[in-house]
Symmetry: C2
Subunit: 106 residues, 2 copies
DNA sequence: TATAAACATAGATATATTTCAATGTATCAA
DNA sequence: TTGATACATTGAAATATATCTATGTTTATA
């Protein structure tokens, strides 16, 4: 099972600061210094979070001189949502023939 | 910001066993004993994970005699995906006028 | 070259999470 | 009533995570 990679990607969104960063990037790219002003965290902490978001594929980045520019990855977002959808889904027409073994234990 | 609750919900899917449980429930409800047979974990560990999934709203349950019956919550899944989509999204037509402050520092 | 700015890395600490063994509770059956 | 089954709770141990301070690296500028 390749759950480990998916868990790692989903963990990108399990931190309040990283959620705030995703919202901050929704209207276009920003550099690290801009993000630092919006979030009450230190620069090393921001660096830590941006690495996690970039590794997940949700955030793209490029370096321009001294500045790192971050933006939401449209492809990353699409793939992320598809991946989430593969777990957060249900076959709503429940097939009783595959229901649980307790039925037979009665 | 109400990020804390969303982080808590997203954490429901950041464990390999809980992802396996979501897949195991995709074709209909199952009782705890069935899930125990599929997952190489102890009963208290399963109980722990089911509580987290139920608290997130992704999984419904009811008790029937000795047995707990678990199933995917269609409403929970829909709300979960909408919540994820509020963070994993981008306004793809980037408005340059709102780009980051570094532009002016040059 | 020397300095400053932006960012990354290393190390330490506090907290959170996963897991299990042991035990408790509720339900059913003999 | 007694024993067995299914599940929950408690407490402990190992691991992971978030955060900071201190420091290193890269780039631009005086």
């Amino acid at each position: 099972m390749g759950f480990r990679e998916d868990v790692k990607k989903i963990k990108a969104l399990t931190d309040e600061n990283r959620l705030a960063i995703m919202l901050a990037l929704q209207h276009g790219e920003k550099c690290g210094c801009d993000l630092l002003e919006e979030l009450n965290i230190t620069q090393p902490t921001l660096s830590h979070h941006m690495k996690i978001l970039a590794d997940s594929g949700l955030v793209d980045y490029y370096k321009e001189g001294k500045w790192m520019h971050y933006s939401i990855s449209a492809d990353g977002v699409r793939e992320f949502r598809e991946m989430i959808g593969s777990y957060a889904r249900c076959d709503c027409e429940t097939d009783e023939s595959v229901s649980c073994g307790c039925k037979e234990k009665k």
